[in-house]
Amino acid sequence: MSARAVPPARDPIRPHPAAAVEIEFEGRTYRGVLGQSIAGILLANNVIDWRTTSSNHAPRGLFCGIGVCFDCVVAVDGVPDIRACQRRARGGEHVERQHFSLPSTSQER
């Protein structure tokens, strides 16, 4: 196990109970609580990568956590390029991994 949520029962800051929310990603449903970002819900479920790069096809997930690196972008409900660490889940979002191949040139088509 690596990334995870702090179990609320043992959390020294005593978070209040919050409504559950679910998001869908790559055919699976992930549970979180209202207030969590999409990145937070995925990390809480030990999903640590949700994007694939274009040149090296390498996995990426969270990096800066504050919205400046754009490593964590996902498509949400069909809209591309949304920073998962900044977008809070409302529940029901269909989240997709972005993986854009570089265009082939016209000679190759």
């Binding site: 274009s54 809209v79 591309p80 854009f100 265009p103 040139t105």
Partner: protein, 393 residues
């Protein structure tokens, strides 16, 4: 024979390469960095589609055959590890969405065909086959297979790398401040910079939008002025635009001299996966500060062409200064007022495309051999420029 080329943009680089290739001893002087001006602030167009029949179109048609040769030559000379100039003969598609626009476009295309351009009038269905993401309400469309694109900054670096290999010297951070004249004063024998004096048998002014300033410093004013344009760049996305696509308004914009803001939609993908979106034309001197009003107009027109762009982000913007002459034709050739001085400038929005053939013409002029194209229309002493020229100081 020693040549000084002033300006390390696409035109200076093309000239340096052509001249070193013919055995000249070339020094390129650049006040900033290579490709630091317009050449790194443009889309890298190599177009025939947007040109009215006339000398500029003839140059462009010639350029469209020359560029693929240059691309192969550079690859051979520089090897596989040198970054690719991304030469892509992708073709262009011009679309009209109104009946007036359609009439103008089809008439224009016919005149171009008569001038030897491959311009295929296509049906809206064919248009959508070639560009499935276009707004389908197409009134008319023309396909120009000979339009192409390069990555302009890399093209400059490649041309200069090739010139360096052949012995050219490139000096950056060195600014021309005046001319060296012979005893009579009628001949230029070099340039004086903020670093040194450079003796030369010929001096080539290839300073783009700053060619007017350089010409004045050399005592031979030339009326080149800047026309500012902005481009929006999107994030990388799935490949949805396959040609250079623009609305028929673009042609009107390139030909006009209006001072007011002119915008028209021009959209194309890049090898990097981003989409470049233009275009605008403004006479604001050398002011390149962001004007939201301008990019908002560009955005609106681009969405009308490709509705999916509504949801696409603008990741960055850049703007460049097109060097234009009052009669909208480049200057290629000797200055009739000062022996030994040549100007290759004023290419407006077509500098990348026309650079290599302009360099070929300059080479022919310097070697007194046959030019690939009659250079008379581009002469500095043409009638249409006369009212704008001051006598050399």
């Amino acid at each position: 024979m020693r040549i000084v080329v002033v300006g390390a943009g696409i035109v200076g680089a093309a000239c340096a390469r052509a001249l070193t290739g013919a055995g000249f001893d070339v020094t390129v002087l650049e006040r900033g960095a290579v490709a630091g001006g317009t050449s790194s602030s443009c889309e890298g167009n190599l177009l025939v589609s947007d040109k009215t029949p006339g000398p500029e179109l003839d140059l462009a048609v010639l350029a469209s055959t020359r560029w693929p040769q240059v691309a192969v030559e550079l690859k051979d000379q520089l090897g596989d590890t040198f970054p690719s100039i991304e030469y892509e003969p992708k073709g262009g598609i011009v679309v009209a969405y109104s009946s007036a626009g359609a009439d103008a476009l089809l008439t224009f295309a016919e005149t171009q065909r008569q001038a030897g351009v491959r311009a295929r009038t296509i049906t809206p269905e064919e248009g959508l086959e070639l560009e499935p993401h276009l707004d389908p309400q197409i009134a008319a469309a023309v396909h120009y297979p000979d339009d192409a694109q390069v990555q302009p900054t890399i093209a400059v670096e490649a041309l200069l790398a090739s010139a360096r290999k052949a012995g050219a010297s490139v000096r950056t951070g060195e600014r021309v401040v005046g001319a060296l004249r012979d005893a009579s004063g009628d001949r230029i024998v070099g340039v004086h910079t903020d670093h040194a004096d450079h003796a030369a048998d010929a001096v080539v002014n290839a300073a783009g939008p700053w060619a007017g300033e350089v010409a004045a410093l050399l005592g031979a004013p030339v009326p080149v002025l800047p026309r500012f344009g902005m481009v929006l760049v999107t994030p990388r996305m799935s490949h949805r635009v396959f040609h250079k696509v623009y609305d028929a308004d673009y042609v009107g914009a390139t030909q006009s001299g209006d001072a007011d803001l002119q915008t028209s939609a021009v959209v194309e993908s890049t090898a990097a996966g981003t989409v470049l979106i233009g275009s605008s034309r403004q006479r604001v001197g050398f002011d390149d500060r962001l004007d939201v009003r301008v990019i908002a107009q560009i955005a609106a027109k681009a969405i009308a062409l490709f509705p999916f762009l509504e949801q696409t982000q603008v990741m960055r913007t850049f703007g460049g200064f097109r060097p234009y002459m009052p009669d909208h034709l480049p200057v290629i050739g000797p200055d009739h007022r000062v022996a030994g001085l040549y100007h290759v400038t004023g290419h407006e929005g077509a500098g990348i495309g026309l650079s290599v053939v302009s360099a070929d013409i300059l080479l022919a002029q310097l070697t007194q051999s046959a030019a690939p194209l009659d250079p008379t229309p581009f002469a500095l002493n043409r009638a249409t420029l006369a009212p704008h020229l001051n006598d050399a100081a």
